[in-house]
Each structure stands twice: as structure tokens, then as C-alpha cells.
Amino acid sequence: MNVSRYGEEGIRILFGEKIDLEIHEKVRRYYFFLKSLQLEEITDIIPSFRSCLILFDSKKASYEALTASLREKELLIAHIDVPEPKTYDVTVEYGGESGFDIDFVASYTGLSEDEIIEIHASVTYKVFAVGFLPGFPYLGILDKRLYVPRLETPRLRVPEGSVGLAQLQTGIYPFESPAGWRIIGRTNKKLVDYNKEPYSIFQIGDKVRFIRA
């Protein structure tokens, strides 16, 4: 665990250097540890693949005081309750107009459309992070055979519900939005509900299975 400062009001806690289930589990445990402390000087926490970024209120605590106080409480990490992840099924219409990049993915990977769909839908993915846009799940780990690079120039708009691939990740665009990932399908599932906490259906650590429509 490596603690460093990120600007005047950020604390970056790094748990490793790669995309890895074990490193991510440490991130997740630390995130729930931070939440359990309910410290009023912590405004926001952004957990992701290998780090937790804390935004703190510098009017309520200094960086030194807050990091010292977190260090003192570290013994609790092993004892906190980490919620059981939920599993979600997401039905996807693959290919065609919904998955307009599937031909590119086929030519890049040398797989047929059916093989791509079969591989994509055969894995139970883990939500490594939620962000970029509200409710956008970064899902991993994608089968290596589906590795595709991001677009060099992102598209200005893809439709809501678009399912994309980039490197060893897959994800779902919760809104019509700019997108640099390769789109292979679309789902009708709503990912965000503004009227209901915690607003995103996916939480870090949850599991997602894709089902061919």
C-alpha cells in the first residue's frame, strides 16, 4: 500500500501496478473500510482497478493529520464487513446496427461474429470501477482473444446502452455519449436511476453476465 498526495485535497492510495483480481479486492476492502469510518473530512472516494483516490476537505483536516489517522485505524481493515457482490444479467443484442464495430472486431481478432459473441457472453465479469460517466461499469477481465485497441479518435456519439470493448475490458455506456471503445452490441438495461440511491445499479465488485438476445 503506497500513500501519496494528489494535489492539495487528494490522497492516492495505490495497491499494485496491474489489473488483477487480488489487487482489486484490496482496493475494494479499503474502500469499504473508508466508508465504515464515516469521516466528515472525506468528501468523496474514487475506487478503481488498483487505487483509491480520496478527496478531503482541507478546511476540516490537513493531509498529514488525515493520513496519520487512517494509518492508526488500519488494523480495522481485516475486520470490516465487505458486502457480498450482486450478480446481474444483461441481455445484449449483438452485431448489426446495435453492434456496428463487430466487423472490425472480427477482422482484428480473426474470429467469426458467433465466436466473438460466444466468448464475450461466456465470462462472468467483475465491476472493477464505476465512472468516467455516471454508472459506467469497467468490466474485466476480457478473454485475451477479444483484445482490440481503442479508437484513435473517439466517436462523438454512441447510443445509450452500447456495449463496448477496449483492450482487456468491456463496458456499457449508460447514456448517449462520446466513446473510444469498439461497440459490439446494445442493451435496454437502465444503468442509472437519479431518484434512487446509490444511483448506479452496479457497485464496485459486482458481477455481470451478458446474455445474447
Binding site: G7, I19, D44, I46, S48, G131, P134, F175, Y199
Partner: protein, 312 residues
């Protein structure tokens, strides 16, 4: 009630922002110049960071449907109320039926138009601010258009006040933005970093036309990555003011709309200069100046003290 006659180039309802849900990707989407918003609300007698209209572009105009106190802060503008000249950074009382028009933006880019009272709008996730990209919050999740009207409750007239010149920030280019070191400064060659954050003979960047509330892309001499450095990072948490450098070496200053990013961050804009980011416009010249964390903290504390002293 106010009715929009002309929205300028873009007019949006903003406030102090959304907090507490970055963990599921909900960004703050706050006003870009929080100093201007804070002083605006002081002039209007409103509590905290009450919502206001963030505008850029000239010709913004609205009609008052009630007697209300109004003020404009942020960019220095030449405005008029029924032909009577007005300036930014002062409050004025408007009568029902009168029209406010912004005729010219003289210095800076974004200006804030506010009213004493509470707008009749829905708070979403604890805030009135507009998330334009995801179309929620503010006025029906979108920019204001001609004919839109917003009602206000608890409106009042206040004593007209003008902010002293010394408390009005300088927004004229060239801009010098103070920065603190970022987590991936070691991804870049020493020479390149020196030029970027430079000691002497700094290189200037130009604000490109790729600029919106999400980020500001700069043109200029690209930063050079070390030969052994990756051109991207595993996506992770971002805070406003982070400078991200994609593979092409040209910096992007991230504003308030992203919670995660995947590019190397050689530096972050110091908090004291975050408000100035609202006033960078295409073609402006920008230079960076690296400062230590202690100095950054001291400068920001001083800025908070100024706001406190204005309010007292």
C-alpha cells in the same frame, strides 16, 4: 420569475456541485469559477453556493417578471438594464418588466448571473447544477433557450453593493497557471518537464478550440514521453484540475465532469488557479509555473480568507 430572451452562446444553471457519489461516476458539474459564484451569492444575500446562470458569449438577455435583486460576476462585461449601464461585480435591483442585456464581454470568458431568492427547480443528487453530457439537473437537464422561464421564491431587494477592484481577479491572457506535481511526472523526459513547468524561458501553449465544460485541450510543443514509459495508465480516479497528457503529448486540463481517466498526469493545477480555468478561451496563451505544496496551500488559504473578508 425570469424569462430568457437570448441565451448568449450557452447559458446553464450551475451551483457548488454534486458531492459524495464520485464512487459511481457522478461528477460535481459545478460552476467553473467558484470564487465568482461565491461572491455573487454574497452580493445577493444568498446562502452558500446557491444556483446561478453560467453564461458565455454576448447578447445574453432576460426579462424580469418580479422585482428582484440581481448581480453579475465572473468575466467583466458591459451590460444594461433598460438602457441604464451596468457592470459586473456589483448588485442592482431590477423591477418587474425590465430587461437585462449583456452587450460586451471585456475580460474573461464565463460570467455568472444570479438573483436573490431560490429557483423553483428540482434538486437532483443534492444539487441544482446541470450535467449537460448526461442531461440531468439544472433546467430540464439542458442549456437554457429563448423563452425558458424560471420562477423564484423568497425573492428580495438588497442594498446595492460593489466589489472593490482589488478583489476582482485578473482574467486577461496570457495566463500563468500555477501547478503542483502530479503522480506520473516521471513518465516524461526531464528536458520536456523543464520546458513544460519551466524555470526560465517557459514555452507557452495555446488554448485550442477543443474546449468545453469537460476539459481544455492545449496546442503547442508536445511533451516528450521517456522511451521506457507507457503512453497511458490503468484508468483511475481524477480530480478537477488534473492535467492529462495523451499519447500525442498535448495536455488536456480536466475540469469538473470526469471521475476517472487513463492518461499520464505530469501536474495538477493548484487550487488557487482553478477559477481562472473558467476564463481560458480559444487562442489564449497559457504558461505553467510549478510551485511547492506548501506554497499552494498558503495561496489557497489566502484566497479563502479574501472570500471571508468580502463576506464580513
Amino acid at each position: 420569475m425570469i424569462e430568457i430572451i437570448h441565451p448568449g452562446i450557452m447559458a446553464l444553471v450551475v451551483d457548488g456541485g454534486r458531492y459524495g457519489y464520485r464512487e459511481v461516476g457522478i461528477p460535481t458539474s459545478s460552476a467553473l469559477d467558484l470564487y465568482a459564484l461565491s461572491v455573487l451569492n454574497h452580493l445577493l444575500g444568498n446562502e452558500g453556493n446557491a444556483p446561478a446562470i453560467e453564461v458565455f458569449g454576448e447578447k445574453f438577455s432576460l426579462r424580469f417578471g418580479k422585482d428582484v435583486c440581481c448581480a453579475i460576476t465572473g468575466a467583466k462585461v458591459r451590460a444594461s438594464l433598460e438602457g441604464r449601464p451596468l457592470q459586473s461585480w456589483m448588485s442592482f435591483n431590477a423591477r418587474a418588466g425590465e430587461t437585462l442585456t449583456v452587450d460586451e464581454v471585456r475580460e474573461g470568458f464565463r460570467y455568472y448571473v444570479g438573483f436573490s431568492g431560490t429557483p423553483v427547480l428540482e434538486k437532483i443528487i443534492g444539487s441544482y447544477t446541470t450535467n449537460l453530457e448526461c442531461r440531468f439537473g439544472g433546467y430540464r437537464g439542458r442549456a437554457l433557450q429563448k423563452g425558458d422561464s424560471i420562477d423564484f421564491t423568497d425573492v428580495g431587494m438588497v442594498n446595492v453593493e460593489r466589489i472593490a477592484e482589488e478583489f476582482i481577479p485578473r482574467m486577461m491572457p496570457p495566463h500563468t497557471l500555477r501547478v503542483v506535481e502530479g503522480p506520473e511526472s516521471n513518465y516524461f523526459t526531464d528536458e520536456s518537464l523543464e520546458e513544460f513547468l519551466g524555470s526560465k524561458g517557459r514555452t507557452a501553449f495555446t488554448v485550442s478550440t477543443k474546449l468545453n465544460r469537460t476539459g481544455i485541450r492545449l496546442d503547442g510543443k508536445p511533451l516528450a514521453f521517456r522511451t521506457d514509459a507507457e503512453k497511458s495508465i490503468i484508468s483511475e480516479g481524477l480530480l478537477p484540475g488534473s492535467i492529462q497528457v495523451p499519447g500525442d503529448g498535448l495536455p488536456i486540463i480536466q475540469l469538473h465532469e470526469r471521475t476517472l481517466g487513463g492518461y499520464a498526469r505530469p501536474a495538477l493545477i493548484a487550487k488557487v488557479d482553478h477559477d481562472l480555468l473558467a476564463h481560458l478561451k480559444p487562442g489564449d496563451s497559457v504558461m505553467f509555473e510549478m510551485i511547492g505544496m506548501e506554497e499552494a496551500e498558503r495561496l489557497f488559504d489566502r484566497k479563502i480568507e479574501i472570500v471571508t473578508s468580502i463576506k464580513n
